[in-house]
């Protein structure tokens, strides 16, 4: 601090004199000086802006890159289960229908009583459909409330429709395969049997 403070501090720390009376007065002076010093410091703190954040009314500024609540873009999910398998605490459960581009995510649950916000799920995701957002106040009153369901709830018709779509795709694939097989056989017959 300023030079006045250091002078007072030096005064207070001065080596006691050998003369008892001198020491007596030096003691008194040290008491007054140190009291003055302390009082001066605290009154500057009194006029300082309090650091307390009035939390529910005033929210802290969250820095970018904060790892909070998950976010899932289920249209991009390929159901590769990499996040589920790489989670160190096994807090993610993924279920769904289909594979690759055409998927229907029926369940994407994160158990926040286990999650340690390590960001590995987001890092391993090949399509970057999982990320951690800046939402941080995740306290819950029960174990059930810690289970967060990220997949959009699907109605039975939707699931049935998607199953039908999958069956249709499967049928198309089978038809394509059958056609290819037929073409291959026709070609073989045309060219004759391969020489052994």
């Amino acid at each position: 601090m300023s030079s006045g403070t250091t002078a007072a501090a030096a005064q207070a720390k001065r080596v006691p004199r050998r003369n008892p009376l001198g020491r007596y007065f030096a003691d008194i002076w040290a008491g007054i000086a140190t009291t003055y010093l302390g009082m001066r410091v605290t009154i500057t703190y009194f006029f300082r802006e309090p650091v307390t954040l009035r939390y529910p009314e005033v929210r802290p500024a969250i820095p970018p890159g904060h790892r909070g609540l998950h976010a899932l873009d289920e249209s991009k999910c390929t159901l590769c289960h990499l996040c589920e398998n790489n989670c160190p605490v096994h807090c993610i459960t993924v279920e769904g229908l289909g594979r690759a581009r055409e998927t229907l995510v029926t369940r994407y649950d994160v158990d926040y009583s286990k999650c340690l916000f390590c960001n590995i799920c987001a890092e391993v995701c090949p399509t970057q459909c999982v990320s951690l957002t800046e939402r941080y106040n995740l306290a819950a009153g029960s174990r059930e409330a810690c289970q967060f369901h990220f997949a959009r709830p699907k109605s039975d018709e939707e699931v049935a429709g998607f199953k039908a779509l999958l069956a249709q795709r499967e049928a198309e694939r089978k038809a394509r395969m059958a056609q290819k097989e037929a073409e291959r056989k026709a070609k073989e017959q045309q060219e004759g049997p391969k020489p052994q």
Binding site: G31, I43, F47, P50, V51
Partner: protein, 413 residues
């Protein structure tokens, strides 16, 4: 106050209801003083409530936090919530406690804190008893509080309370003497033990000169008085058991010291009396050393014998022929008070009193703030250091101040 009651009894009330004059005068006095005591109790409660909030808020700001701010706007209802909590708490007593001591202690402490208010002025005319021995009375009866705390220390049969009581006994032995010497300086200079006379002395001219504004205050009249003021304040910190002299209730060593075993209402008595005692010390310091109601705000000048009661009595007597019914008399009783206050003389008296009270309370609250400021700055000192400070530093310095004051009184009478 006695003359006022007498005056009021014979002129105002007696003129309206002559049958009341046959009532013995002591009943009038008893009623008047009961009302006064109720006002003092309310003032003590308000002081304690307001300053618990103030203390926590100031402590918060000193520690760069906010302090209580959730209950009510800016947290001002926090003390009410605390009071409700204290009242609703279970009143417990240890099995081994000595019942009589345990029961009486909080009330003795409270009594000790309440008694000084009987003579403590709020302004020139706002004083319950204008006693010639007021200063002596305050210093003498504050010791009741100490007895109460010793009882609270012994009564519950707990080692924490016992240590707290013992420390207080040692502390009391050390601070009472320098405190008395500091007061003696003012008594010598002012030549009176009456608090009103001491303040009036501080408004008069010093050394035959006209002293404008604040320069009539005792601390500007004599270096001895200034030193005595500082020492009185330090001794007052010890007397009110405030940091750095809070050994009797050192929470980090003795849980809560002498009131460890008390809960609920009994605890709140200790609590209230502590804050009331702080106010008494601060107000006393303001009256003795800082000019009392002669403050930085100038007051309108008044003739010496100006009295609102006299004016009120005259107004009542003037209105009597017009009011004969019971209700009419009541209406006259209150309307004449309002009419008296609204006359130029009445307004001047009221302004005089209000400004005086603002001056005195402002100074007392300033000193109160410094007490809190010191509490959140200074670490607690050891019991031997307390005794060293009081007996080996303040006592000789107090004696020097007394001698200086004697010489000053002899040389400049």
């Amino acid at each position: 106050m006695d003359e006022f009651i007498q005056h009021f009894h014979t002129t105002a009330v007696g003129a309206l209801w002559p049958s009341l004059l046959s009532v013995p005068i002591w009943i009038t006095f008893a009623v008047a003083y009961a009302v006064g005591a109720a006002i003092i109790l309310a003032w003590m409660a308000v002081m304690a409530l307001a300053w618990t909030y103030g203390e926590r808020r100031i402590a918060g700001f000193i520690q760069v936090r906010l302090g209580p701010n959730r209950v009510g706007p800016q947290g001002i209802l926090q003390p009410v919530a605390d009071a409700v909590k204290l009242l609703a708490k279970e009143d417990t007593m240890p099995d081994v406690a000595s019942r009589a001591l345990f029961d009486v202690a909080p009330f003795l402490v409270f009594l000790g804190a309440m008694i000084p208010f009987a003579v403590l002025p709020f302004s020139e005319r706002l004083v319950l008893t204008n006693m010639d021995l007021a200063l002596y009375y305050i210093l003498a009866f504050q010791a009741i509080e100490v007895i109460g705390i010793l009882m609270a220390g012994w009564g519950p049969g707990s080692k924490w309370t016992l240590y707290g009581g013992m420390r207080l006994a040692a502390q009391m032995l050390s601070y009472e003497i320098p405190l008395g010497l500091c007061v003696l300086v003012i008594v010598l200079l002012a030549g009176s033990l009456n608090l009103g006379d001491i303040v009036r002395w501080q408004s008069h001219d010093a050394f035959g000169l006209h002293t404008p504004w604040i320069f009539g205050w005792a601390i500007f009249r004599s270096p001895a008085a200034f030193a005595a003021f500082v020492m009185f304040y330090v001794g007052g910190l010890a007397a009110t058991k405030r940091a750095p002299f809070d050994l009797p209730e050192a929470e980090s060593e003795l849980v809560a010291g002498y009131h460890t075993e008390y809960s609920g209402l009994r605890f709140s008595f200790f609590f209230m009396s502590e804050y009331a005692a702080m106010y008494v010390i601060c107000a006393l310091a303001a009256v003795l050393f800082l000019g009392g109601w002669h403050g930085p705000i100038p007051r309108p000048t008044l003739p010496e014998d100006a009295s609102l009661i006299t004016l009120w009595g005259e107004a009542i007597r003037a209105g009597i022929p017009g009011a004969q019914s019971f209700l009419g008399k009541f209406a006259l009783f209150f309307s004449s008070l309002i009419r008296t206050v609204l006359t130029p003389d009445g307004l001047r008296i009221v302004a005089n009193e209000v400004i005086g009270a603002v001056n005195l309370l402002g100074k007392a609250f300033g000193l109160y703030f410094i007490m809190i400021w010191a509490r959140w700055t200074l670490p607690r000192i050891r019991i031997d250091q307390v005794m060293y400070l009081c007996l080996k530093v303040l006592l000789p310095a107090g004696l020097v101040c007394v001698i200086w004051a004697l010489v000053q009184v002899v040389i400049f009478p």
